[in-house]
Amino acid sequence: MNRINRRSFIRIAASAAAVSVVGFPAIAAAGGKQQVVIVGGGVGGATAARYIRRADASVEVTLIEPNKHYYTCFMSNEVLGGDRQLDSLKFGYDGLAKHGVTVVHDTVTAIDAKGRTVTTRGGKSFSYDRCIVAPGISFADNIKGYDIVAQEKFPHAWKAGPQTTLLRQQLEDMADGGTVLIAPPPNPFRCPPGPYERACQIAYYLKAHKPKSKILILDAKDSFSKQGLFTQAWDRHYKGMIEWVSAVDSGGGVKSVNAAAGTVSTEFDEYKPAVANIIPAQVAGTIASVAGLTDDSGWCPVEGKTFESSIHQGIHVIGDAAIQAPLPKSGYAANSEAKVVAAAVVALVNGRDPGTPSWVNTCYSIVAPQDAISVAMVYNLVDGKVATVEGSGGLTPVDSSPEDRAREVLYAHSWFNNITNDIFG
């Protein structure tokens, strides 16, 4: 039995060939430099571009992003509260260019996984050895009537920039005594604690300037991130100002809007709030579905070790667009995933094994000027899937001291400065 017969020899040969195709397919023709094309210049895409160049400056990296500037969604709630200016969230791509990344401002319209080519609206075509897709989120149609026009009446402000300015302006313009309605989306969505930090920041503004006003949160869920800590913060800082209604009690949250009439409706009730922040359900950024990278959920299935698409070889999907649970859809997670994928891509284009990944997430929420809370976690790879490291992570303790809460505010601001430097160079 200890010999290789003809049949098993064929199997061996076939399997070895398959491995070399799947594992290390893209060894370029003699002398050719390895090409990596990155679609999307947000947290994931920009971090990946920089870290690939850090790891191997011989790899040519092209980052394709429609906008000249990126506004971070994280910390944009402080703009709504009034303690931060939108410009402090604005980042350009000069830093990446200095690291040798070719930045192209254009919109990707197609990705041909077989031909390994990315095509843009501007009519350009880029061939790649490995492609990284980091398109963030786009909105689903779960709220009737929430079209482009309605977005101007009831801003989502879930992609920072003009939408953030608009929502802030509406808060400034509203009369004292009005109601601000917030409609958080169903899971999964970008920045799970975001809507509830937003309630804090808006309440902070209203308490100082329009103290008779109220905030009504009509949730599409029955529970939410850091719920105990947020409920405590609402009670501690904004008592009587914030009412949260679960999906069970509202019939599943906001179902429709009428921009012309200024109304927002659930299954049971119609509201006419002074300001409404409608955050729709989310799916992966549009190019992900156009390129066939999404499954029925609207998000992109990926392999745990390399975040290579489970659907198309040679394409890695990172950040909010990927199905990456238990990693959350957060800025820190996108930054962490991008570094793991950058290392994997550099290894793969050089014909090496991608190595063992390690991820971290930390999310701060600033609930008052001297009070912040956080959630953190360390992740590793178990049986080919992302897993939480047992015993690690967790929330700010409910009974943490005012001194520690104040420290968390400065640590949150430090995190913002450091992660944005890390992303945009």
């Binding site: 200890n2 199997r11 971290v360 430090s414």
Partner: protein, 192 residues
């Protein structure tokens, strides 16, 4: 099961993993890169409070992380993250940051306090925190140019007992007034 059936699998794995047959530990760079979100790229923090860890000795990083992990040293978020790693992983992270230059920051400090701090430094701190706090001795952190709020938090924790002081340090700190301690911290923070 016959040997023949196993062979293709074994051969496949060998080619896929190269020389590494068992799940390896993440590399030092892989681990250290996860710290950058809060502590800055290569451990050089842009502040205003999270400390730079660039230039810290490997031994000091390991000792600090072990203390955070056990809860012996007070923290907000660091202890929660430290519990995700073992000593060997701390060593790998430490090996990366030890190679980095000490971060130079530009912070607002009071010249009069800095001058007073310089006097106190020579008498009280220099023996262990050499080179104005810039020397990465095995058992001392980098104080030179460190973010002032972090230095202040550290002193609050030392004084409250939520972070243990070395006996020699405690003797000195107990003798100094709050003003003198603040002058010392500003002296360290002002180092260029």
């Amino acid at each position: 099961m016959s040997v023949n059936k196993n062979l293709p699998v074994l051969l496949g794995c060998g080619m896929l993993l190269g020389s590494a047959q068992l799940p390896a530990s993440p590399t030092a760079t892989m681990l250290a890169d996860t710290c950058a979100g809060c502590h800055g790229t290569d451990g050089a923090s842009a502040g205003p409070a999270t400390p730079s860890i660039a230039g810290m000795s490997e031994e000091y990083l390991v000792e600090s992380m072990e203390a955070f992990k056990s809860g012996e040293r007070h923290s907000t978020v660091m202890g929660r993250i430290a519990r995700g790693y073992g000593k060997e992983e701390f060593k790998l992270m430490g090996s990366v940051f030890a190679k980095q230059p000490v971060t130079v920051t530009s912070q607002q400090t009071d010249p009069a306090r800095v001058a007073a701090g310089a006097q106190l430094y020579g008498d009280n701190c220099e023996k262990c925190h050499d080179k104005n706090g810039a020397l990465a001795d095995d058992d001392a952190g980098i104080l030179a140019s460190q973010w002032l709020p972090y230095l202040q938090y550290s002193m609050v924790d030392f004084k409250s007992g939520s972070r243990e002081m070395a006996k020699k340090m405690k003797k000195k700190v107990d003798k100094l007034s709050a003003d003198e301690l603040e002058a010392l911290l500003q002296f360290f923070a002002s180092q260029q």
